[in-house]
């Protein structure tokens, strides 16, 4: 509906408007020329496949629109008629021209807003009955551009045109078109910006008052650090004076390189001018340093960022404050660097002190490591510990466990132990670690609350003397173990390949290419093969039998059968060989041969079955072919569906290649390879379906019953 009414109303509008225009200035032929030029300009601007309007043309359109109102009217009517074209790209270009004019000309605005209810469906395509025309890509662009433009128009001129407000409300609420909301986001960002500025300004105001106090505080802290450093330095020099003879004592070194070396040594060793006397100084220093780094430096950096971000009318205070803060920051940095340069990494100092205490706690461990063990041979700490302390049951168990864990190592290690112990080690079971080991060997009752904790229970009173009887524990401790398959190495096939080398396939019994896997020598010859000279003794009857079999099978796969025949011959040979060898060889060989014989028989049986299956398959295939041909021949329709007429393909390809893209070509659906494949699939599927349909009913039972040739 809207399209027809719109176009009719446009048509209706156009003539009277043009007449009026002519009537209003009949004398000026220049205006008429401008109109015609406007029309031709717009025609030219919108009849390209370019993604956007040529800026030169656009400028020309704008200048001619600026020149006369008549040109604007003309452009309006022409653009409306272009917008109703069933081609989205034309609409897109027309819309972009309209947008330009709308933003500039009041006359154009008033004209367009009056026709907006007809214009918008053509640009946005929100009516389901009238979606945007193809091509789809341009349609998407058009919709996006239109919605964006509408939002912009609404923002700029909404107050003046009720139609714009209505359109936006309708699209938003009723048609549920998604607006990009660019305007809204921009506004929100501006609001956010304003708010942050407000906060920043308030902060700067606050700073204005507290700047002096902040600076004084920082200065005092820095002075404290400097004083502390001075004291330490003085003391240090004193200290250096009388510990000079100490072998690893530090030296006050002036040169930088030496200082760095000393730094490195400080990392490793101990730099300890800290004693009972100067501890207070160090503490104060540490305190001040922490204050400086963790608080003052951070504050200063924050203030700098605030000052950088803030926007004030009067920038003098900001600049001066910023300068001061940067100076302060540099000073703090300098102090910090000096501290670290002097090796007074005060955080580290504190930590090191903590470490010291911990080490004191762990003295026993250290002693443990360095304690001399009776079995001096072992380097393993575990073993050493086990051998050393026997007092604690737990420790013993742990030691045993570790030994069990690395049984071979223990085996090596226990070579020198007393023989009884080594015997015990040898026969000790290797079990994975579990709670069972906690009670290894003990067979008494166990307390339920074995840790002796005072437990309060929600569920009632706790019997602290409860005991689990030994029988129960034994039941709980029953060993279970998961079966683990011993890893089997699958031998490679090792049959010689044509291109050289050996087949590396690993199959259990039969290689799909080279038959059963047999032990082979380095060149890939089977060990039994060296008895090939016995080939003359092939059983002629057997051979004939096979030949006859292959003749039966229409002889179309001779190579195959030859191969089969040869393989069977080979087995025969081995069989014969077995017979011969059996006479002068061990029972071992006879077993082998018997296995081989069974294999041969089975294989022949299987071959026979496979051959039969293949035969049946071929027959069925043949029958289906016959049916298919018959079906296709019966209907020309299906034949047409089966194959595309080749000339159509050729024609399409040629045109696509030869011609430059036109507006009409944009509308044509492009045949992609995907489409082609889909079509092909569809065709084959369809024909297959029809064939199946045709042949299925009457033939099915017959075919199943008698898989013969027809």
């Amino acid at each position: 509906m809207p399209r027809s009414t719109v176009s009719s109303s446009f048509a209706g509008h156009r003539t009277p408007a043009a007449e009026a225009e002519m009537g209003s200035n009949p004398s000026s032929s220049a205006a008429a020329a401008a109109e015609s030029s406007m029309a031709s300009l717009i025609e030219r601007a919108t009849s390209t496949t370019a993604p956007a309007v040529d800026p030169v043309l656009l400028r020309a359109i704008k200048s001619s629109g600026r020149a006369s109102d008549g040109a604007i009217r003309d452009a309006f009517h022409l653009l409306l008629s272009l917008m109703s074209k069933p081609h989205s790209h034309v609409r897109l270009l027309a819309f972009s021209v309209a947008d330009e004019l709308f933003m500039r000309s009041k006359l154009f605005r008033s004209l367009l807003t009056d026709a907006l209810d007809g214009f918008l469906p053509l640009a946005v395509g929100f009516r389901r009955a009238h979606p945007l025309p193809p091509p789809a890509a341009s349609a998407g662009l058009l919709r996006k551009a239109a919605v964006q433009a509408l939002e912009r128009w609404h923002h700029l001129f909404g107050a003046h045109y009720r139609q714009l407000r209505l359109a936006v409300e309708y699209l938003k609420v009723s048609a549920r078109v998604q607006f990009p909301g660019l305007r809204a986001t921009v506004e929100a960002r501006a609001a956010r910006e304003a708010r942050t500025q407000e906060i920043l300004t308030a902060k700067v105001e606050q700073l204005r008052q507290s700047l002096a106090s902040i600076k004084a505080e920082i200065r005092s802290t820095m002075d404290e650090i400097r004083n502390g450093l001075e004291i330490i330095r003085a003391e240090y020099e004193k200290f250096e004076g009388y510990v000079n003879d100490d072998d690893d004592a530090e030296q006050e070194i002036a040169s930088l390189s030496m200082r760095s070396i000393r730094m490195a040594s400080l990392m490793a060793g101990e730099w300890l001018p800290e004693t009972q006397e100067n501890e207070a100084v160090f503490d104060a220093l540490r305190e001040a340093y922490r204050l400086l780094v963790s608080k003052h430096l951070v504050t200063v950096q924050e203030w700098i960022s605030v000052l950088v971000r803030v926007n004030l009318q009067d920038n003098r205070f900001r600049d001066s404050a910023l300068k001061e803060f940067i100076d302060v920051k540099n000073e703090i940095r300098a102090v910090r660097d000096r501290c670290s340069e002097l090796g007074l990494d005060l955080d580290n100092v504190r930590r090191r002190k903590g470490d010291q205490e911990e080490e004191d706690d762990e003295f026993w461990v250290e002693g443990n490591i360095e304690a001399p063990s009776p079995a001096k041979v072992q380097s393993s700490v575990d073993v050493a510990s086990t051998s050393r302390d026997t007092g604690k049951g737990k420790k013993v168990v742990g030691g045993v466990k570790s030994d069990i864990g690395k049984a071979p190592v223990a085996g090596n290690g226990t070579r020198n132990l007393d023989p009884e112990k080594s015997k015990l080690f040898a026969e000790a079971p290797v079990v994975p670690w579990s709670s069972v080991l906690d009670r290894w060997g003990s067979s008494g009752d166990a307390h339920v609350n074995q840790r002796g904790l005072e437990l309060e229970s929600h569920w009632g009173r706790v019997d602290n003397d409860a005991v689990i009887p030994a029988a129960k524990i034994a039941e709980l401790n029953v060993h279970s173990s998961v079966y683990r398959e011993a890893p089997v190495e699958i031998l490679p096939c090792h049959a010689p390949l044509k291109k050289g080398g050996l087949c590396q396939r690993r199959d259990l019994k039969v290689c799909p290419f080279h038959g059963p896997i047999v032990p082979r020598d380095a060149e890939g010859n089977p060990f039994e093969q060296h008895s090939g000279s016995f080939g003359a003794e092939v059983d002629p009857v057997e051979h004939c039998d096979i030949r006859g079999n292959s003749n039966e099978l229409n002889g179309n796969r001779d190579g195959d059968y030859m191969e089969e025949a040869s393989s069977s011959r080979m087995t025969d040979i081995s069989n014969d060989y077995g017979n011969i060898a059996g006479t002068h060889d061990l029972g071992n060989v006879t077993v082998e041969l018997a296995r081989q014989a069974i294999k041969n028989v089975r294989k022949r049986d299987m071959d026979h079955k496979a051959r039969e299956r293949a035969q049946r398959q071929r027959i069925r295939q043949h029958n289906e072919d016959v049916l298919r041909e018959a079906a296709i021949a019966s209907t020309s329709y299906s034949a047409a569906a089966y194959e595309q007429p080749p000339e159509s393909w050729g024609r399409r390809g040629r045109r696509g290649k030869a011609k430059a893209p036109t507006l009409a070509s944009m509308l044509k659906k492009k045949v992609t390879s995907k489409d082609r494949i889909a079509e092909r699939l569809l065709n084959t599927r369809a024909t297959d379906a029809t064939i199946r349909e045709a042949s299925h009913d009457e033939d099915m039972s017959y075919r199943e019953a008698f898989p013969n040739q027809w």
Partner: protein
């Protein structure tokens, strides 16, 4: 021209009534979508019915498909946007959330003609409800046998307060507010009744248009319908003016009162006494009908149709002499009420909604008729049938329009939920206002050629 008239009025050459009529006509002719006045719609469905109250001309009542009815103050805006856009928000709303609200779409909402203390809503949930405006409570409700398509109250009634209701049922029912009962059931239509209109000249005369295409006239004091309009029975053009001396222009506005009173007088006398009065031909048909057909009309007469298809809208002119009807055959017909003839005014091509009652509007000097034509409203010259202009602004089908005589404004309601105001645009005046308020605006609406 405007100044000339003012000058003429100053000198006394132009009489007050004519001056006023000319001003009204000029304003009515310059209607355009108002940028200064807008209603913020509270409805979530199509607006089906609009009416401004008859006593003050100030409160607009709207009924919508989501079962809501709202009242707006058309004079005083609730707030202002951008300095000069007056936004009128609803001052009263009853919807489904209301304890007595309608369950389905409201098809008609009309004011009680005597004051604004009551209004009536008719709905597809088969109820007609009478509301107290001040307490927004239902005073009374009437259960109908089917979907109620329309309800009407006589604007001139002094002795009765009946709500005429047309529903999917074939009978027109008259509900009495005083007693809370159906006083009349008027049978005659063969299908549902889409539109009802009380005569503007006689409080007893009711006109009904049905889905069977017939327009029937009822005198509620007597049984049965006394006239069925027949589209094939026609007279050429409008009735010749009674006073030959008065020129055409004068006729339109001055004729109003005198003729209407006279015609109602005629009707009354004719109905009661059957006295031969005016022209012979008319008299003959009248007498013929009365003798032979009333109260039971002859079958041929009884089967007459005024439209092919349903009659979707009825509207009398203010003077009560003419009846406009719209049908689902997309035709608009102008009937002479007195003679019951089709005046054969050929209204230009239009396309009308077929399935819904339409609400037409006529200016008070019957010169323009506003018809909802799909998504636009068309104004036709009542006498020539020429399209005066089309009002485009709605995005979906328009259901109703109401012309406010007091402000010369047109209100239209549509499926896109909006109620639009079309007000007289006087460019000079708005320009002047613009100049006053331009300073505060973000972007002035001016040419902006950068290159």
């Amino acid at each position: 021209m405007w100044l000339e008239e003012v000058r003429g009025r100053e000198r006394g050459e132009l009489r007050a009534r004519r001056f006023e009529a000319a001003a009204r006509a000029r304003r009515a002719a310059s209607l355009a979508l108002s940028n200064r006045k807008e209603f913020a719609t509270p409805h979530h469905g199509a607006v089906n019915s609009l009416q401004v109250d008859l006593t003050e001309g100030r409160y607009l009542l709207s009924g919508a498909s989501d079962g809501s009815a709202a009242v707006f103050d058309v004079l005083n805006a609730t707030d202002c946007e951008a300095g000069f856009i007056a936004k009128h928000k609803h001052i009263l709303l009853v919807d489904k959330q209301h304890q007595n609200g309608h369950k389905f779409a409201i098809s008609a909402a009309v004011w009680y003609p005597v004051d604004t203390g009551l209004f009536v809503t008719a709905s597809f949930d088969q109820y007609v409800k009478v509301w107290d405006t001040n307490s927004t409570q239902v005073v009374m409700d009437f259960k109908m046998p089917g979907k109620v398509f329309t309800a009407a109250m006589s604007p001139i009634a002094t002795t009765q307060m009946l709500i005429a209701t047309g529903s999917a049922d074939v009978q027109v029912r008259l509900c009495d507010i005083a007693s809370g009962a159906f006083t009349h059931t008027l049978s005659g239509h063969r299908d549902g009744i889409m539109s009802l209109e009380w005569s503007a000249s006689s409080e007893w005369i009711l006109m009904s248009g049905g889905c069977d295409g017939a327009i029937r006239f009822w005198d509620i004091r007597r049984a049965g319908c006394f006239r069925v309009l027949d589209q094939s029975q026609s007279q050429l053009g409008r009735r010749p003016p009674l006073l030959k001396s008065t020129p055409e222009n004068d006729h339109i506005d001055s004729l109003g009162h005198s003729t209407s009173t006279r015609s109602s007088a005629q009707k009354r006398t004719r109905n009661s006494k059957n006295s031969p009065k005016l022209r012979k031909s008319q008299n003959l048909t009248q007498g013929h009908m009365q003798q032979r057909l009333h109260p039971g009309l002859s079958s041929s007469q009884n089967r007459a149709t005024s439209h092919y298809g349903a009659v979707t809208g009825l509207r009398t002119t203010k003077d009560g002499m003419y009846l406009l009807s719209s049908g689902s055959d997309s035709r608009l017909r102008l009937w002479d009420i007195d003679s019951g003839c089709n005046t054969l005014v050929n209204f230009e091509a239009m396309r009308l909604q077929t399935g819904k009652p339409l609400q037409l509007a006529v200016t008070e000097d019957p010169s323009l008729v506003f018809v909802p034509c799909m998504a636009s409203i068309k104004a036709y010259n009542l006498w020539s049938g020429m399209t005066f202009r089309a009002f485009r602004g709605h995005y979906e089908l328009v259901n109703c329009c109401y012309y406010s005589e007091q402000d010369q404004e047109l209100y239209t309601g549509s499926n896109d939920r909006q109620i639009l105001v079309w007000s007289p645009s006087t460019p000079a005046f708005t320009e002047m206002e613009d100049d006053e308020k331009r300073q505060g605006l973000s972007a002035a609406d001016e040419d902006n050629w950068s290159d």
